[in-house]
Structures are given as structure tokens and as C-alpha cells.
Symmetry: C2
Subunit: 194 residues, 2 copies
DNA sequence: GTCTATAAACCGATAGAC
DNA sequence: GTCTATCGGTTTATAGAC
């Protein structure tokens, strides 16, 4: 059973991802959620900022889990990384180049304008980096390499989303998939050599 | 001598970069530009959309040229790429993590909401990729590798900007600088061997 | 407690004074 | 042609009806 608050957060997640935070009105969120206007301030007394903060944390956690599950489903880490980038491209294409990272647009909008939301976005990315670094270490990457490599992989995915969405093409995800697979492969073979 | 139109475009470039397109009002742009309100519709009859389109093209061209000049100033392509990433980090830090890519926030905002501006952003990125690919070929990268490598480098830089701005740290630019230098180095040595 | 009606401010855009 | 005053619409937020 879905509660009103969950429906509101589902709607805000989708709209913020496609239109950004400042580009989305709370009335539009409530219309999509099929909730009356006043219910927003009942469930989110802090108004739009609180809605945004909870949306960032919830959508960020959901997206990170989804990506990690995809990585864990393939045993070879090099092919896992490649598959994750290609799968992101397929999702993008099948949603009309709308559904990429749920917090990226918000992150750029708030980075210099809203300290509280900036920190909320940072915490999501930091959790992703930590999770990916741990997974890389389990896959045979040297411990000193895991964090820089995780930062690079997530940065590249986020940047590829920007180029792919404005190009309406998955080419950049194919190119970055190969590059990231090569970096992971290099790192593992360097660790095994000593 | 700076014209009113140039002052308006300078102001819109800075404000759109920091606050995004939907987060910036045209009244705020004119206030920063020290221009009266009516002058916007004199110089930009198409209103905010025309202002945005010209801002994207102008700021995008300026930023691409600036980065390319930085790349050309160092002879070794591997160290050029590393230096460009590190320099971007220094600029970011010295501007309070505000001045990154001038069109990235706009690109994500308009990708699914404004077809004309989406294309304008795509054209800017496409010009950057073509310029960087040509530069890489001149540096010894195999012709078949130049475009995928250019796409990867620009994607990684754009993504690193997102993480760096919300983290208020240049660490991700240091990590990605090393990774991109490694990719370029690998590509050049692969070309020279085969 | 759920929801409607409205407030106060701001948006992009335009008409028209000078 | 430069600029001001204002339009209609929309924004977030709140007050209060039921």
C-alpha cells in the first residue's frame, strides 16, 4: 500500500529528475501525485526545501542500490562495469532520454544556492563512492586505487548522462563503458602483479 | 568598449552557470548587467529563450577555446590533459566552487523540456568533442580511438564538476586527472606499437 | 485533520510614455 | 529607441473553513 507521502515523493523524484528543482512547481508535484495542495505542508512542514531534501535522500539511495545490484549480478568486475554503463544507456534510450541520474540536475542547481541541499546531494554521492570502492576492492583492485577509481567511474557516468541526454544518443555511454572497463582491468592487473 | 548586449550576455552567462536557467530571472540578469528592463526585448526579441540560446553558444564557444588554449600550451599530450583537469579544479576552488562548465546546468535543465535549447547545448558539446579529438590525433592517438577518447574525457570532466561542486573539494579532479592521463598514455602507446 | 481559498511576491512579457 | 509602468499568470506559503 502506498501512502500519500510516498506518492508525493515518487512524483517529485520523477519531475525533479526531468525538469530540475527550480523548474518544477509543487503544485505540479501534487497534481502528478493525485494529492490535494494542502497535504504537502502536512507531510512536509518545511515546504519545498524539505520535500527536496527527502527526495534527494530517497531517490539517491534507491538509484545507488539499483546500480549496485546490477554490478553484483555479474561476477567479472570488468564486464560488470561495462554492462552497467550499457544498461544505463538502454534505460536512457527507452525513456526518451529522460531517466538518467535522479539527483544530478538538482545537484548543479543547488551547489551554489542552497547549502542544506548541497550537503544532501554530497552525502548521496559520497555513499555511492564508498559503496563502489568497497565493491572494487572485493573485485581485486588495490586498496589505494579503489577510491580514485570509484570517483572516476561515477564522474564519468554522470558526465556521460549530460552528453547523452542533449545528444539523444547512447554513443557516449558505449565509449565510456569501454574506457572504464579498461581502467578497472588495468587496476586489477597492476594489483595482481604486485 | 562593451555594448549593452555584451553586458547582458556576460551577466546571463555567470548567473545561468551558478543558478541554472529556470533558477535565474531575467530581471536579475538585467540588474547585474546594469541595463534597464525593456532593453532585453530590444536586443533579444525572442525573450528568455533567445537570451538562453545566445548565452549557450557564446559561453560554450568561449569556454571551449579557453580549455583548448590550455591544452595547446603544453607539448606532451598526457601532461596537458592532467594539467587541464588540475587547472579546472583550481579555478573551481578559487571561485568558491561556482565557476565550472558554463552550460552544464542548463543542458540538464533543458534536455527534456526545450528542444531548441537542447540542440544548442548539443552543438556546443559536439564542437568540443571534435576539437579535442583532432588535438588527440595530433598528439599521437590512433584515429579510431580519438572520438571515443574525447567523449570520455569531456564526460569525465563534466561529471567531476558535479561531484566537486557539491563536495566543495578538488579531490575528484585530481583522481580523474590521473585516470584520463593514463587513458591517453595507453592510447598513444597502443598506436605507436600497432 | 483534510482540504480549499487566498495572500503576497515574483515570473516573463508588453504597451506606451517620452 | 530608451526606458517605465503594468499586465496576466504562476510561484510558494498560509489562513481558515469544514
Amino acid at each position: 500500500m502506498t501512502t500519500t507521502k510516498e506518492r508525493i515523493l515518487d512524483a517529485s523524484s520523477e519531475l525533479f529528475r526531468r525538469q530540475g528543482l527550480t523548474g518544477t512547481g509543487i503544485k505540479q508535484v501534487l497534481a502528478v501525485a493525485h494529492a490535494p495542495f494542502g497535504s504537502l505542508y502536512h507531510h512536509f512542514p518545511g515546504g519545498k526545501d524539505q520535500l527536496a531534501a527527502e527526495t534527494i535522500a530517497r531517490a539517491g539511495s534507491w538509484y545507488g542500490q539499483m546500480v549496485m545490484e546490477k554490478l553484483l549480478s555479474i561476477s567479472d568486475p570488468v564486464e560488470s562495469i561495462r554492462a552497467a554503463f550499457l544498461a544505463a544507456g538502454e534505460t536512457l534510450e527507452s525513456t526518451g532520454y529522460a531517466d538518467a541520474c535522479p539527483i544530478e540536475t538538482i545537484a548543479l542547481e543547488v551547489a551554489s544556492t542552497n547549502e542544506q541541499l548541497r550537503v544532501a546531494c554530497h552525502e548521496v554521492f559520497e555513499a555511492w563512492v564508498a559503496g563502489l570502492a568497497a565493491w572494487l576492492e572485493g573485485g581485486g583492485v588495490a586498496p589505494t586505487d579503489t577510491r580514485p577509481l570509484a570517483l572516476t567511474i561515477i564522474s564519468t557516468l554522470e558526465g556521460a548522462f549530460v552528453l547523452a541526454r542533449v545528444a539523444r544518443s547512447t554513443g557516449v555511454l558505449a565509449a565510456t563503458a569501454d574506457a572504464m572497463a579498461l581502467l578497472v582491468s588495468d587496476s586489477i592487473s597492476r594489483a595482481s602483479r604486485g
